[in-house]
């Protein structure tokens, strides 16, 4: 087990370097540097060449690429990503300010998706092949094909415009600070509903589908036949025997959910003006605020990496075949 964990961690370190190099190379292969772009945008053609050189020096843009990379990497490991090119605030502070909002949205969306999707998957596995199950499988499949921004528009159209039940956008109402404790909470929930639906329905379909196939895979095995033979009912078979074994592959899926949700956040936060890192990323891309773009890309990728390492280690604990198999490969 120790060998397995150590090997997994070593791979993770390599992947970390891969992530940082990929991000760095991508950003630096873009024609022009942020200074020239910023000058052009702000109409600062009046800057003297000396000032431009000073700025280049400050952002280490005057040094060869590998040196720039090392400078940046040294900062990145201590979570120091420099300053935003646009408003000159530390990148770290900007990200910390926004991350709670995104976490809140994604966490609720994840709970909804897993809380509904997994039971639906179990139900589908137990009722596999019946008419109702075939219909619902197709339904979830279609759900997965819905563009999230269209869903958001339809939801806004019905719940906010037509029936005026839920707020159009934003995280809280303008009068939020004047509300009492309970009303404040209700206000927050009201603002959460539409973004959470938009963010979670596709994930729900994925969870339902994946947990169904994971359970179905287990159901085919001999010990399930044995459980049935001893007289266990369909619910007991699924719940006690199949689901526990199916949980193992699902651990990995949960780890890979993070990048999906983050991708979704960019669209959802933009539509609902949710002031989180998705919106921050979008605005940073438009403004070519490279330090922010690089920091957000690396941070999410590393969080995903950590989650997948954790999932793999849990997987190793849960299923001895994994750690043995890894050695043979």
């Amino acid at each position: 087990m120790t060998t397995y964990i150590v090997r997994r961690l070593l791979y993770a370190v390599l992947t970390f370097f891969g992530i940082t190099v990929a991000t760095f190379v991508l950003i630096h292969s873009v024609p022009g540097d942020p200074i020239t772009f910023f000058m052009g945008r702000a109409g600062l053609n009046t800057l003297t060449p000396a000032t431009v050189d000073a700025l280049r020096k400050e952002f280490h843009l005057d040094e060869p690429l590998p040196v720039q990379y090392l400078h940046w990497l040294r900062g990145a490991v201590t979570f120091d990503f420099g300053h935003s090119v646009i408003d000159r605030r530390p990148v770290r502070a900007v990200i910390f300010e926004k991350i709670a909002a995104t976490f809140q949205l994604n966490f609720v969306a994840f709970l909804v998706a897993a809380g509904l999707g997994v039971p639906i998957g179990l139900w589908s596995a137990a009722r596999s092949g019946r008419r109702a199950e075939r219909a619902s499988a197709l339904g979830f499949f279609l759900l997965y094909s819905l563009p999230s921004f269209w869903v958001a528009l339809l939801l806004i159209r019905f719940f906010s415009v037509r029936f005026d039940l839920l707020p159009l956008f934003g995280m809280v109402s303008d009068y939020h600070s004047q509300l009492s404790g309970w009303d404040r909470f209700a206000d927050r929930i009201e603002h959460l509903i539409l973004p959470v639906i938009t963010l979670s329905y596709a994930q729900l379909a994925i969870f339902a589908r994946f947990s169904k196939s994971a359970v179905t895979e287990v159901i085919r095995q001999d010990f399930i036949v044995a459980a049935r033979a001893k007289g266990a009912g369909p619910v007991a078979v699924i719940w006690h025997h199949a689901f526990r074994n199916a949980l193992i592959p699902m651990i990995t899926l949960f780890g890979l959910t993070i990048p999906y949700l983050m991708s979704g956040s960019v669209i959802v936060e933009q539509i609902f003006q949710w002031d989180g890192v998705g919106l921050l990323y979008y605005n940073a891309i438009l403004a070519r605020d490279y330090p922010i773009v690089m920091a957000l890309t690396v941070v999410t990728a590393v969080v995903t990496l950590l989650a997948s390492v954790l999932a793999d280690i849990l997987y190793g604990f849960a299923d001895p075949r994994v750690r043995v198999g890894e050695g043979n490969e």
Binding site: G18, S145, P147, V266, I285, T297, L305
Partner: protein, 323 residues
Amino acid sequence: MRGESTWLLAWRRFRRSRLATFTLGYVALMTVVALLAPAIANRKPLAQKTAAGWEFPAVADFWINDPDIELPPSNPIVAYWPPVPFSPNSVSLGERLEAPGRVHLLGTDDLGRDILARMIHGARVSLTVGFFATAIALVVGSLLGAMAGYYGGASDWIVSRLIEVVLCFPFLFLVLGIVALFKPSMATIMIALGLTSWTSEARYIRGEFLRIRDVEYAQAARASGARDARIIFRHLLPNAVAPMLVSASFGVAGAILTESALSFLGLGVPLPTASWGSMLSKAYEHVEYAWWLITFPGLAIFTTVAAFNIIGERFREALDPRS
């Protein structure tokens, strides 16, 4: 009879599903609409007879991206018009935000442009991006996957690490970054999508090659002195084509979805070229009353994406011996 029997079997199983046959027909129809868009929705006549003889004004639009708005000065004696007599970019300020009616079947947008005409031309963008991005992903994915699976060892290790790195990035972050920082255009989008979505193909081909690289016919080819490239492309890869079509079908669906998301965010194909995604971002501005702006482009994206997903899914089932 060479490899046909497997194909025929899968095809027959596929055809058994009425839904699959229907969606395949729908995709074929969409493709025809996309290919013939300038002849279906155009302000210019398909063919007209003037004093100078016969002319075909709409034909020229097949070679330009944004069909021009000006009508040729002519006085036709006879003219044959396309079924939708509007160009996607012809602005008509007197007909702004008209609800669906007899003239504009699906209504107009805030510049008075015909929604149906824009959707017909938008199909070009969506399907072109979908097919080409998937083609790039397939080529990159199968080359890397084949290398990893066939040679194993160091190349397998490198490809596997590469896949791990790509999978760590949120997909849209990467695509959005590439498209926005280099210039948004159809080519950039296709390349960005292709270079970020090859991982599932690569993983699949790798697994397939690990399994079949030492089967008898590969050994026979090797024994008769065939070079690696020949074994890979001639003997092994054709055996993985059918399942690759499954993943290609899902790939096209995903690419169309992502392209429309990029266009919705304003980072897709540059305006005024009509695309389903950018039409929806217009809809967002008029969400209070113009329901037709939301409904139709959204339905177009949804049905097309769903069709490709259903085809992939049913084809996968048709190939699965267990089903």
